[in-house]
Every structure is written in structure tokens, then in C-alpha cells.
């Protein structure tokens, strides 16, 4: 059987973190009462016009710069037409012809064979980033044969990040999205929490034999977490391979991921291909961005977006943060990945390091092997940890001072997880886990043991 090459591309919609919407002044807020954050423009009242939100443009520029893109100093807005209950105007304002940023790249790391021992760095090309409006939400009430429409989300700013089909499996897709998530959160351009709908990922999947042209691709939607992303992609790859090997064909269709069944199913909504009848948005002039060189002298800097100004103020990206952690604490690169991947873990680690004499290189072991594994077992976040950095530092200090053994420390930690409020010192006393430092005492104990095991001793000591 000839090998198959899976090809995976991603379209990611990240909701922009801003006070108001992309083209109107209504507020952006999660979980507000239905239709309470809807301006006249959002409701598509006739005669209303879009006004571009500067913060949204800045967020897109920041993101573009962080993803090594070329920022287009002139970009355009277009209308994408289709009829749907959650799209009041009958069209979405997007950037189809000339988006705000193009030709970037995202580097991410994977561990081989699931061990944190070998990390491989990969890169995926970023085709473009475009600004566009989010739609409202429609809830289908089948019992009453009606659809309820909530327009709170209609018009919220989105950055669509298009990743080229450089990935080959679910794991790569998941790792790439995770890294993007970290970058967005570091920049503050999007809260990027999938569960809250800030980040939506659609996967484009196809398979082909090496040397042959790319196969027909399907689009997979309705993926609600990074974990499900990996599952959905892998399932789809498998499905396509099986289909083709059985002599079938792949349809260029949209499929939904069913998280309960762990498979993808065709989406009944789309009947045939839609012609979106793209047309330039006539109410928005071209978006012009400046840099230090092109900025006109008298321009009020409140009125313009200066790419260089934004570049100067970019925070340390995850890759930079990781490098700094490795350098400062002497930990392995793999360690830095885990630290950043877990929300709050870096802060916890650094806090422990501050409070203990134990070398950071040793502390990391306790953080990753003991603390983190426990949290994972019990599905807790770092914030929810019953063991605070203070307590752990306390414990590690006991170990460092050789007051307890490593084994004993683990026992203490197990006790600390119970969260009964006892300090490490108290637990050590209670369980009599102190390391005996007194030579005489040790001799006595050993003697007692030997005395109690005469036969074995005779067998062991020759002659």
C-alpha cells in the first residue's frame, strides 16, 4: 500500500479584545443579556454606516508583527453576501482583496513520542490576517419551530488567521494553535479562550500520495477545544484514507466534528457552493497605516496607526520568554514549553524559586513531575492548586537542608495535597519523617536491625 501524505491547513477566527465592536460603538462583553449590546448599525437599521475602530486595527497590526507578517500599509474592506438569521445586513464586512497582513510564519514545538525529552521545532506559514465582523448567534428551538436570534456578538471584531497547509496531523495542528493562543494572550490582542468562543478553529484536511497533486480537501468545523482539534483532524485524515483505499472519492464539503462520537459528519446546512458576490465596501475608504518614515509631520497621532510605534511596544513573545527562562534558570527548553503552556505555572515556578534555596534546576523537577502531574490527575488549574508556592517552597527548603529525604518529601507533598492547612514542618513532625542526623542514633538503629536478623547476617558475612 502506497503511503499517504496528510495535509492540514487552519482557518482561525480570534475575537479581538476591545471595548467596542469593529465598526460600531456598542460594547463587547461575554454573556450579557440577549440583544443588550446592539447598536443601530449592528441591527442593520437602514441608513447606518460603519466607522472603523482604531483599537481593532492596532490589535491586528500587533498580531501581524508577532507572526512575522508584512503589514499592508493599504488594505481594503469588502462585503461578503449571504442570507442568514444571524447576519442582519445580509453581508459581512471583511477583507477579501487586500488584507491587513500577509506572508508570516509561526514556529511551534512538538515533543516526539510524547516524552518531554525530545522537542522538535516546526514552522507553519501564515498566509494572511484579515479584519472582519463576527456574526450574531442563532439558537434553534425545534420544539417550537422557531429560531431565536441574539445579536450581541454581531459586529464584534475578528482577526482571521489563515495557516497554510504545512501541517500533517492533529498533533501539529494542536501545537500550532496552542502557540498562537499564547501569542495572542501575551499581546492582549485576543483573550483566545476557545471555551468562551474567543478562538474558533476550522481545519482544512486532505490526503494524497507523495509526488501526486494534493487531494480534494474537506473543511471541518464545530471544534470546541484544542484537544478536539487534534482528534477531529486525525479522524478526518483516517476517514479520507479509508474512503480512498476503498475506491471511494472525497467530496469538497464542510463537515462538523461530533465531539461525543469523535467523528466528523457532513453538515446539512450547506447546499452546493455559495457565491458570496464579493463587492468593495463603499462606505469605508482604504485603510492606510503609517510607519515612522511615511508619517506626515502634522498628523495627530491619535488619528493614525503607526506600525513602528506598535512594533516598539510589543511585549516579549512566548519564544522570547522561554529563552529567557532557560537562560535565567538553567532549565531545559522542553521545560520552558511546559511552563508557558500551563496557565499560571511560570509565575508559580518563579515564586517558588524566589522562596527557596534549592537550585532552580532542581525545583523544576518538582514543579513538572510532582505538582503538575498531580494537578493534571485531578483536572485542576494552577490557580486551583491546594498547595501554594509558599508551601512548596517551605517543603523544598526542608529537603535542601537535608532535614528530610527525597522520599519523605514526596510523602509530605501527598499530605499537603489534602489541603488540610498543615505546614510541611507539622506534617514531618506528625509522621516522624525527619532525617536522623545523629551518628550514634543511626548506629543504634542499624545495630538493632542487624541484631534482629542474625541468620541473614550470618549468611551475608562470609567467614
Amino acid at each position: 500500500l502506497a503511503p499517504w501524505v496528510p495535509v492540514v491547513g487552519l482557518e482561525i477566527h480570534a475575537q479581538i479584545s476591545s471595548n467596542s465592536k469593529l465598526f460600531s460603538g456598542s460594547q463587547v462583553q461575554f454573556a450579557a443579556p440577549p440583544n443588550s449590546l446592539v447598536s443601530f448599525f449592528d441591527a442593520s437599521l437602514p441608513g447606518t454606516l460603519p466607522v472603523l475602530n482604531k483599537r481593532c486595527v492596532e490589535a491586528a497590526v500587533m498580531t501581524g508583527l508577532a507572526l512575522n507578517c508584512s503589514i499592508n500599509k493599504k488594505s481594503l474592506f469588502d462585503r461578503k453576501h449571504y442570507f442568514y438569521a444571524d447576519l442582519p445586513a445580509g453581508y459581512q464586512i471583511t477583507q477579501q482583496r487586500v488584507p491587513i497582513a500577509v506572508n508570516g510564519s509561526l514556529s511551534y514545538s512538538l515533543c516526539i513520542d510524547n516524552k518531554m525529552s525530545q522537542m522538535v521545532m516546526k514552522t507553519v506559514r501564515i498566509k494572511q490576517i484579515q479584519l472582519e465582523q463576527d456574526s450574531g448567534k442563532s439558537l434553534h428551538d425545534d420544539t417550537r419551530s422557531q429560531t431565536l436570534v441574539d445579536l450581541n456578538r454581531a459586529g464584534v471584531g475578528l482577526m482571521e488567521v489563515v495557516m497554510e497547509p504545512d501541517m500533517c496531523c492533529g498533533e501539529e495542528a494542536a501545537a500550532a494553535v496552542r502557540e498562537l493562543q499564547l501569542i495572542l494572550q501575551t499581546l492582549g490582542s485576543s483573550q483566545a479562550v476557545m471555551a468562551e468562543g474567543h478562538l474558533r478553529v476550522d481545519a482544512n484536511v486532505s490526503v494524497h500520495h507523495p509526488g501526486e497533486p494534493y487531494g480534494v480537501r474537506t473543511e471541518v468545523k464545530n471544534i470546541n477545544s484544542i484537544r478536539f482539534l487534534a482528534k477531529a483532524v486525525d479522524y478526518e485524515i483516517q476517514r479520507q484514507i479509508e474512503e480512498l483505499e476503498n475506491g471511494g472519492t472525497i467530496l469538497n464539503e464542510t463537515r462538523a466534528f461530533d465531539s461525543k462520537l469523535g467523528c466528523t459528519v457532513p453538515m446539512r446546512d450547506k447546499e452546493g457552493k455559495q457565491d458570496y458576490r464579493f463587492m468593495p465596501e463603499p462606505n469605508l475608504p482604504p485603510l492606510i497605516l503609517y510607519d515612522a518614515e511615511s508619517l506626515p509631520a502634522n498628523m495627530n497621532h491619535q488619528q493614525v496607526v503607526n506600525i513602528d510605534w506598535i512594533h516598539e511596544r510589543l511585549p516579549d513573545l512566548p519564544s522570547v520568554k522561554r529563552a529567557k527562562l532557560v537562560e535565567r534558570y538553567g532549565i531545559l527548553p522542553e521545560h520552558s514549553f511546559t511552563l508557558l503552556n500551563e496557565d499560571g505555572l511560570t509565575e508559580f515556578y518563579e515564586s517558588v524559586v524566589k522562596q527557596t534555596q534549592m537550585k532552580p534546576k532542581k525545583v523544576i523537577g518538582w514543579i513538572l513531575n510532582n505538582l503538575l502531574s498531580y494537578l493534571k490527575q485531578h483536572s485542576l488549574t494552577v490557580k486551583e492548586s491546594p498547595v501554594s508556592s509558599f508551601l512548596l517552597a517551605d517543603l523544598l527548603n526542608l529537603l535542601e537542608k537535608k532535614e528530610i529525604s527525597s522520599t519523605a518529601a514526596k510523602q509530605v507533598l501527598a499530605e499537603l495535597w489534602k489541603g488540610e492547612g498543615k505546614t510541611p514542618v507539622e506534617i514531618v513532625k506528625e509522621k516522624k519523617l525527619e532525617l536522623i542526623q545523629d551518628q550514634k542514633e543511626l548506629e543504634q538503629i542499624c545495630q538493632a536491625v542487624i541484631d534482629g536478623q542474625e541468620n541473614e547476617v550470618i549468611t551475608m558475612v562470609p567467614g
Binding site: P46, L49, F83, P88, M279, P282, N283
Partner: protein
């Protein structure tokens, strides 16, 4: 007889000097609206709110603190501008009963100046048409149909024939606004102009119709036909009045991203006496097929007028004029298809009872809500926007549009200050004749002289010039450079003074005339 040039009534001055009170002025206008109801110029008359506004104005005048020239002046607004609390229908079933929660920027500006909003005027449905005959509230009748001047010239009819069937159209699509100003029911009215919709009815109704430069006046709140060509239009009885209204409306609006940022300075129109430094261009392509010999002669006479006064009058060429109608058709229908997509019955407006599915509800709502003209344009527009057609139609039309705009730029660059052209092909035709052809055909015919200015975004104005042989108004058009409204209006004012266009003689107006309009024949407000 031409009665202008006599004592000029200035309504504002009269209000300021206490010779007439705002409430009185308002009531007279409301009464006149009632007695000219057969014109069908108004869709909604906002009697209560108008009187309230007039009362407020009166208080201000008593305190000696009027807000400005427009304080207490009755105005009307075309029914495609949003007016908070007053129905906005666009003469369509789709928006019958629609009460907007906000005022269009231009409406707000007028109200902030103390203007008294009498009501919303009639139009072609969604401003699509050149006759003001295709709205759901019926056609608008040209006040001149009932003028002594027209009746004198009409062929006497046999007794059995209804006088009614003889009436002529206002032109469109801002026919209601033009008729309202023409019949003295208001002193100024807002229209809109996408292909000539303010200038065309202005010409047929014998009033001044100004199309400003695109980007000068805010479109926020104007229900769009073609976003890239629409402008709010100003209809008045004198060029001076148009300049005043323009001064109050122009300027950047943060709510409309297509308005220019530059600070606009309202201006007073100088009384031009010396035109020797002026260069008037006569575009030869505007000698369009179908142009009546009467208007051709008038146009020529006007050119001579400038020549004899010392101006330089030269023939120029705008070679791509012949493509403008098709180009307009493609771009207009494409934008219409897009702009009308929001009318689905969900959030506002008409919603069909059909509820088998969302899609069937949409389809039924739109079929019931829109007339044939609107639906026809939507279908055409969607066709042109299809992926396989986009390049050949939409993109091509955009390129041709650029060529048309360049034609004007070239001519203005060569030293021509103003272009002089006819506004319409003929005087107003009788309604019965107008409806023999369909809306599309009529629009294509009637827009030819006006719509290139919309393509190029240039300012243009209709100035009533003379009466035709049938006793109906004929106007001529001046087209100016971008944002050079001051020069345009200055020349238009000079021309207006020269031609001394006669006042309409309406029975109904005479009846309401005696107290308020005594001695003032031009009845302008400024």
C-alpha cells in the same frame, strides 16, 4: 410675468423683525399642504411636532435669541432620510410604519438650527426612478400642472375629459420635495441625488436643485441607493437659499467615513458682476439624442448670455459620456442588490406571515415588500456580482467610471471653470405618457444628462431658466469642480439674476397668500 426683482421677501428677516410669527408661518404652510393634497407631495405630515417646533422657535425669537437664519423656517425632508419618531417609508411596503429611532445627521443639523420639520415627502420607491411615480403611495403631481401658465397653454379639452388626466410629472426621484418647494408649502427641502434625483425634479418643478460634491455632506441616516454615488440634495427657490442650507449641512461627520476631514467654511455668495474671468465649457456630448429643440435653443441662448457678458465660452468634450448609462446601470444595480440585502423582515419593517422556514419567510417578505423596480435591480445586481461575471461587469464598470471622472478632470484642468448643460431632455411629460414606458427605460433616458456628475462625484446645480412652450419650467445645469461649491453657486446666482425665472401662479397659493406672502414673490427665506 416675471415678478422676481421686485421686493424680495425674506422670511427669516420677517421672523426676526416680528412681522410674522413662526407658529403663523407653520400654520400657513400646513394649511397650504392640506389644500394642495392632490399633489401627493407629502407622505407624512408631522403636524403636531411641527407646531411644537414652531412654538419653541417663537419663544426664542421673543427672547431675541434665534438659533440662526433657519430658525422657525418650515422645511420638508424626502422620505428616505431617517427622522426619529416620524415614519420613514422610502415609499415602500417594506418600511410602511417604520419609525426610526434616530435622525439622519442632516436632519439633526436642520433641527438644531431651529428649522420646523413639516413632514416627509414622496418619492419613487427607495429612490429608484426618474418620475416619482413608482412609490406605494402613488405618484406626485407637478404643481405646474395647475398653474395658470400651463393651463393657458394647454389645448382646450372637451368637457367630458377630466382635467385630472392632464397633469404632468415632477420628475424624480425627489419629486415630492421639489413639488413641496415649488408649491410654497415649505421654504427648503432635502432630496437625494444618485443619478440626478434632485436636479431632475428641480428642473421640472422650476426650483433650484443642488447636488453637492460627494463627501461634503454626511450620508449618515440617508437610506442608501448607491453608497458610492448618493448625496443629500438641497431644493430651494433661490440660489442664495441653497447656499445657506449648504452652509449649515456641510462638514465632516465622524459617523460617515466617506465625508472629508477638511474644515468646511460656510460662505456668503458674492454678487458677481464681472464674468470676464470666467471660462464656461459646453460639452458637445450633452447634445444627447432626444434633446428637445426647445431646450437646445435655450442652452444656446444661455451660452450666448455668458459670451455677451464677457465670459469665455468654449466647446469641450467628455468623450466617455455615451458609456455612462450602462456603467451606471451595472454599478447601481450591484450596490442596490447589496444594500437591499438587509431587508429580511427580521429586525424591522415588513415581515411576511409565511413562517415555514427562515428562507421562505425572507423570500415572501421581500416579494411582498419590494416593488418590481426594486426587485428587478436586485436581480440584475446579483447577476453582475456573481464570481463569473464580476470581472466583466463590475470591475469593467469601475474602470469606465474612472474614465468618465477623468474626462471631467481633464476639462477642468484645461482652464474651464464651470460646465453648462441642459438638465433634462424636455419639459415635464404628462403622467399618462410617462407610464407608457417602464421605469428602467425612463431612468436610462432621463438620467443621461445628470448622472455623469454622480459618477465623478462633482457638484452640480439646476437653475430654473425659462418656461417652455407648454408653459412648464425648463432648467439648465451647471457642473463645477470638486468642493468648489462657492464658485459654482456664485455663477449660478449670476445666471439666476439674468434669466429672472417667473413665479408659479397657483390658485391655492394665492388663497393662502394674502397675509403672509404679500409683496414677496420669490418667497425665499434668506
Amino acid at each position: 410675468a416675471a415678478l422676481r426683482g421686485g421686493l424680495r421677501f425674506q422670511a427669516s428677516a420677517a421672523l426676526r423683525e416680528g412681522r410674522v410669527a413662526p407658529t403663523e408661518l407653520c400654520q400657513r404652510c400646513l394649511a397650504l399642504i392640506k389644500s394642495t393634497r392632490f399633489l401627493n407631495a407629502y407622505i407624512t405630515v408631522a403636524e403636531q411636532t411641527a407646531l411644537k417646533q414652531a412654538e419653541e422657535s417663537e419663544k426664542r425669537y421673543r427672547r431675541g435669541q434665534p438659533l440662526g437664519v433657519l430658525d422657525g423656517i418650515p422645511i420638508a425632508v424626502k422620505d428616505n432620510f431617517n427622522t426619529a419618531g416620524i415614519e420613514t417609508t422610502c415609499a415602500s411596503n417594506m418600511l410602511k410604519g417604520y419609525i426610526s429611532p434616530y435622525n439622519a445627521t442632516v436632519v439633526q443639523k436642520l433641527l438644531d438650527q431651529g428649522a420646523v420639520l413639516l413632514g416627509k415627502t414622496n418619492l419613487d420607491e427607495f429612490a429608484m426612478g426618474s418620475g416619482s411615480t413608482d412609490g406605494v403611495f402613488g405618484p406626485v403631481r407637478n404643481p405646474w400642472s395647475y398653474s395658470r401658465q400651463y393651463k393657458e397653454k394647454s389645448i382646450p379639452k372637451s368637457c367630458s375629459e377630466d382635467e385630472e388626466s392632464d397633469w404632468v410629472i415632477t420628475g424624480g426621484s425627489s419629486g415630492g420635495s421639489a413639488a413641496a418647494v415649488s408649491s410654497f408649502t415649505c421654504f427648503a427641502a432635502l432630496g437625494s441625488d444618485t443619478g440626478g434625483s434632485t436636479r431632475n425634479p428641480a428642473a421640472h418643478c422650476g426650483v433650484v436643485g443642488l447636488k453637492p460634491t460627494y463627501g461634503l455632506i454626511s450620508r449618515h441616516g440617508l437610506i442608501p441607493l448607491v453608497n458610492s454615488m448618493d448625496v443629500p440634495g438641497i431644493l430651494t427657490r433661490s440660489v442664495d437659499d441653497a447656499a445657506v442650507v449648504l452652509g449649515l449641512l456641510a462638514g465632516h461627520d465622524p459617523k460617515d467615513s466617506t465625508t472629508i476631514q477638511d474644515n468646511f467654511k460656510p460662505f456668503e455668495l458674492p454678487n458677481l458682476t464681472d464674468v470676464s474671468k470666467l471660462s464656461i465649457g459646453i460639452p458637445k456630448e450633452y447634445r444627447a439624442p432626444g434633446l428637445s429643440s426647445e431646450i437646445l435653443a435655450l442652452w444656446s441662448k444661455a451660452a450666448d448670455l455668458f459670451k455677451n457678458a464677457g465670459a469665455k465660452v468654449i466647446e469641450v468634450s467628455l468623450p466617455h459620456t455615451c458609456y455612462s448609462i450602462v456603467c451606471y446601470h451595472v454599478l447601481c444595480t450591484a450596490e442596490v442588490a447589496s444594500n437591499m440585502a438587509r431587508f429580511d423582515g427580521l429586525e424591522y419593517g415588513h415581515r411576511s406571515d409565511m413562517n415555514k422556514s427562515t428562507e421562505s419567510m425572507y423570500a415572501a417578505t421581500r416579494r411582498e415588500g419590494f416593488n418590481d423596480v426594486v426587485r428587478g435591480r436586485i436581480l440584475s445586481g446579483n447577476y453582475f456580482l456573481l464570481k463569473q461575471n464580476y470581472e466583466n461587469y463590475f470591475i469593467k464598470a469601475q474602470k469606465v467610471r474612472r474614465l468618465i471622472a477623468n474626462d471631467f478632470a481633464k476639462v477642468f484642468k484645461s482652464g474651464v471653470d464651470i460646465l453648462l448643460t441642459p438638465t433634462t431632455l424636455s419639459d415635464a411629460v404628462p403622467y399618462m405618457e410617462f407610464i407608457k414606458e417602464d421605469n428602467r427605460t425612463r431612468s436610462a433616458q432621463d438620467d443621461i444628462l445628470t448622472q455623469a456628475a454622480n459618477m465623478a462625484g462633482l457638484p452640480a446645480i439646476n437653475v430654473p431658466t425659462a418656461l417652455s412652450e407648454r408653459g412648464l419650467p425648463v432648467g439648465l445645469q451647471f457642473i463645477g469642480r470638486s468642493f468648489q461649491e462657492k464658485q459654482l453657486l456664485t455663477v449660478a446666482k449670476w445666471f439666476e439674476k439674468q434669466v429672472k425665472f417667473p413665479m408659479i401662479q397657483l390658485e391655492e397659493v394665492k388663497r393662502h397668500d394674502h397675509n403672509v406672502f404679500q409683496h414677496q414673490k420669490s418667497a425665499s427665506f434668506s
